[in-house]
Each structure stands twice: as C-alpha cells, then as structure tokens.
C-alpha cells in the first residue's frame, strides 16, 4: 500500500515537472496515433460512406470483412505487419520494421475497419428519403451524398474517437512491429509494460495516468461537441 501511494505521488510529480522522458514518450505516442488516425479517416470515411450506398456485387462479402476487421485482435494485425515488413517479407526492402512507420501501418490496419464500419452505420441511419429529396431540389449526386454524409457527422466523429481510443491504448501490435526501442519507438503502452517489469512503478503510473487522460480528453471533447455538432 505504501509503495502504491508513493508511486502515485511520484507519478504526479513526474507529470507536473514535465519530466523529459515522460514528455518524449507521450509526444511520440500522440504523433503515431494522430498520423494513423488521419490516414484511417481519409481512407475510412469515404469508404464507409460509399459502402453504405453502393450497389455492387461482393458488397456483402466486403462488409463482412469490415466487421471481422473491427473485431480483429490487434496483435494479429501486428503479426501481419511484422511478416510484411520483416527482412524476408514482401515489403522488407522498405526497412520500416522497428520504426515509427511500422507502428503507423499497424495502427492504420487496426483503426480503419472501425472507421469504415461506424461511418457506414451512421450513413445508413440517415433518413433514406433524404438523398432523393435533395436530388429533387437540384443537388447533383455528389452534392446529395455529401449532405447525407454531413447528416451522419455525429456518428462519424464518435467512430473516429473510438478509433483513437482503441489504437492509443493498444500494446501488442506496436510492441511487435515497433520493438519498444528507447528513444525511437517507445510509446506509452509499451513503456508501461517495460517500466512495470523493471519495478519502476512511479514512471509506469505516470505514463498510465497520461494515457487515461488522453483517452478521457478525446471522449470529453466528443461529448461536449456532440450537442453543438447537431446544431451546426
């Protein structure tokens, strides 16, 4: 008990004094996750919106893949990226394994199905007659599609925040493909695992608190934004 209280006190001190190690790891974590989420968004939102309305053969199958991807254990994604990027793998020549790039790739693979799936459901939840009625007011197909996507904005943003939360807190995949290298690929989750093993509970706790805080802030921002978003 004593050690836990001490660890918490020290963790808070590490955060308040902006300990360089803590700041470095937190900064890198945010960098990797934001890049990955941005890529997932650019790919996933249009894909989800398209899947919601497209009438093409194989769509059901593709949708099933997306839902499977949403429930895929992240470490499996990590393994796949590892095999792809390992020296003998098809993309081994890139030399990305054990770099931030590999971690971004893994996180994109984890987050994209989530973003696609949630966007698709959000667009499907928009009143189906709306598209047609906007067309009857002179909107082009694209204009009407964009308006429908905009109607789904709250759902899409909830999906993005969920994606952010899932990849920032993920440990297995980034450990596998990043290697948890000090000063280059160490992020909050992998550092927590390492420091806990080493018995540095104060540092591990400090990192844990930051991780929780980041997740909380994303969710709080979403909760606050939701009411306002609906009235934009």
């Amino acid at each position: 008990m004593q050690t836990i209280i001490e660890a918490i006190a020290q963790a808070i001190q590490l955060i308040l004094t902006l300990d360089p190690v803590v700041v470095e790891i937190a900064g890198r974590t945010l960098l990797v996750t934001s890049i990955a989420l941005s890529i997932s968004m650019v790919v996933g939102v249009p894909a989800g919106a398209w899947l919601a309305v497209a009438r093409v053969p194989g769509k059901k199958l593709f949708t099933a893949f997306i839902y499977t991807g949403m429930g895929m254990p992240p470490v499996v994604a990590g393994l796949a990226v590892y095999l792809l990027l390992s020296r003998a793998g098809p993309l081994g020549d890139l030399g990305w394994l054990f770099t931030i790039r590999a971690m971004v790739v893994a996180q994109v693979i984890i987050a994209t199905p989530l973003v696609v799936g949630v966007t698709m459901s959000a667009v499907l939840a928009v009143e189906p007659a709306l598209f047609f009625q906007l067309r009857a007011l002179g909107a082009t197909r694209l204009q009407a599609r964009l308006a429908v996507l905009y109607e789904a904005r709250v759902g899409v943003i909830v999906g993005l925040v969920a994606g952010f939360g899932s990849i920032i807190s993920e440990v297995g995949a980034v450990m596998l493909v990043g290697g948890n290298i000090d000063g280059s690929t160490r992020v909050l989750t992998t550092a927590i695992v390492l420091e806990t093993r080493k018995g540095n509970f104060d540092l591990a706790l400090a990192l844990g608190i930051i991780l929780l805080g980041l997740s909380f802030m994303a969710n709080l921002g979403m909760a606050l934004g939701q009411g306002r978003l609906q009235h934009l």
């Binding site: 009143e127 009625q133 007011l137 002179g138 082009t140």
Partner: protein, 243 residues
C-alpha cells in the same frame, strides 16, 4: 399550348407488380394539373416519374425543357433544376429551417439568396421559426418548410405531392393561396397531387383521376366535376367510390 411533360406508354413495375400504366398524358405550360385518386393508385409514382427522379419500366416520360425534350436518362443537371418537387413525407436536413430553405440555392452556387430565402419563409409563415431545427417542428411546419425550400428555387415546374395533408385549415389556406399565386403571378406550371377533391376543385385547371395505376378521366376542372366522361369519376367526386 406548349407541352411541359409528355408521357407515352409509360409503365412502372415494382417487384413485377405494375403500379402505373399511362398510355398517353400531356401536361401543358401554365396549368395547375391536379391528380386525384384513392391511396395506392400510383399518384406519387407518376409524380416521381415526371420529376425525372425515376425512369419508367417501359415507355417514355419526357420533360420539355426550353432547349428541347429530355428524359430521366438524358436530362442535364440544368434541366433538372427547372423542376422542384415537394414530397408527401418531407425529409429535412437536421439543420436550421433557414438552412433547409437555403439548400437548393446553395447547390446551385448562388450566394446572395438571403432576401429570397426570407421571402419564401414569409410566404409559408415560417419566418419566425427560421432558426429552429426540424426536430422541434410539428408535421405541418415541416411540410411548410418543404414547400418553402422548393418555392425559393423559382422553378419552372413545381410538383407537389399532397402538400396540405398534415395541415390545419389556416395552413391549408396559406399553401393553397400560394399555389394559386405562384401559378397566376409567375406562370409556374403546377402538378398537384391531392386526395382532397375540394382542393382539386379550388385550385385545378385540369383534373385527372387515377385508379389502380390508370388514368380513367382527364378533363378541365368544370367538366371533371359537372360532366365527367367516366362513371367512376362521378362516383369518386360524390364520395360513393368504395375501395
């Protein structure tokens, strides 16, 4: 008289069931063409075909744009933008009433629509609620927004699908006056669907009776009511037609 729509041998089939079968129909510029008939007769279906929103399963539906006749498949966006339709159950954007009325102007790239939007809102007595969101509106208010968002576009043809179905008498009056005004003062061609026979009598220049997908009578308003050709019209007008 210039034709605005011409229909030839048009059939519409949903799931192998023919719900509309119109061998010939012409609607002329400047008319208030009114479609009446029991529910499920195919009135909304015909309106969607005229609006070039759907294509007939067989046959042709032509809209005669000033530049020449076009169909669902050949109409350009400029042709389509001469038509505006108000639906039986309006779906609005989950944004302010003002924004909903601005939408059609916006997609046309028009910037300074403020005066037009305000006028359109005033004409349907919705200006005081311009800032409201559709979730806060009654069915009748939504219907009036739907009329305003079509009206603001100053279309060449206005297609209205039971625009007063959810309204109380005061609002029915507002919309009816508006239809008359639009037709008389701006020469807008109106295609109106209604199940209200009295409304047809008040507004129409020509009335067509649709039963089970077929037009059984298509006459000038006085003839339709006073001296119809088809016995079913007389029955429908007198309320004796049972379904």
């Amino acid at each position: 008289m210039t034709a605005v729509f011409s229909v030839q041998n048009a059939r519409k089939t949903y799931n192998r069931r023919t719900v509309l079968d119109v061998p010939e129909l012409t609607i002329h510029a400047g008319e208030v063409f009114t479609l009446v008939g029991p529910s499920g007769a195919g009135k909304s279906t015909l309106l969607r075909l005229l609006a070039l929103l759907e294509t007939p399963s067989t046959g042709t539906v032509r809209y005669h744009a000033p530049a020449g006749p076009v169909t669902h498949d050949s109409a350009t966006i400029e042709d389509r933008r001469q038509l505006a339709m108000v639906f039986q159950r309006p779906a609005l954007l989950s944004r302010s009433v003002y924004h909903n009325v601005a939408y059609g102007l916006r997609v046309r790239g028009s910037r300074n629509g403020h005066q037009r939007i305000t006028t359109a809102l005033e004409r349907v007595a919705m200006q005081p609620l311009a800032g409201q969101n559709p979730q806060q509106l009654s069915g009748g208010e939504m219907q009036r927004v739907a009329v305003a968002r079509a009206l603001v576009l100053e279309p060449r043809v206005l297609l209205l699908d039971e625009p007063t179905a959810n309204l109380d008498p005061t609002n029915v009056r507002i919309i009816e006056d508006l239809i008359t005004e639009q037709n008389r003062d701006f020469g807008t061609t109106i295609v109106l669907v209604t199940h209200n026979i009295f409304q047809a009598r008040r507004l129409a220049t020509r009335v067509a009776l649709l039963i089970e997908g077929r037009i059984v009578e298509n006459s000038p308003t006085e003839v339709f009511f006073d001296d119809p050709t088809d016995p079913r019209t007389r029955a429908f007008v007198s309320g004796d037609l049972i379904y």
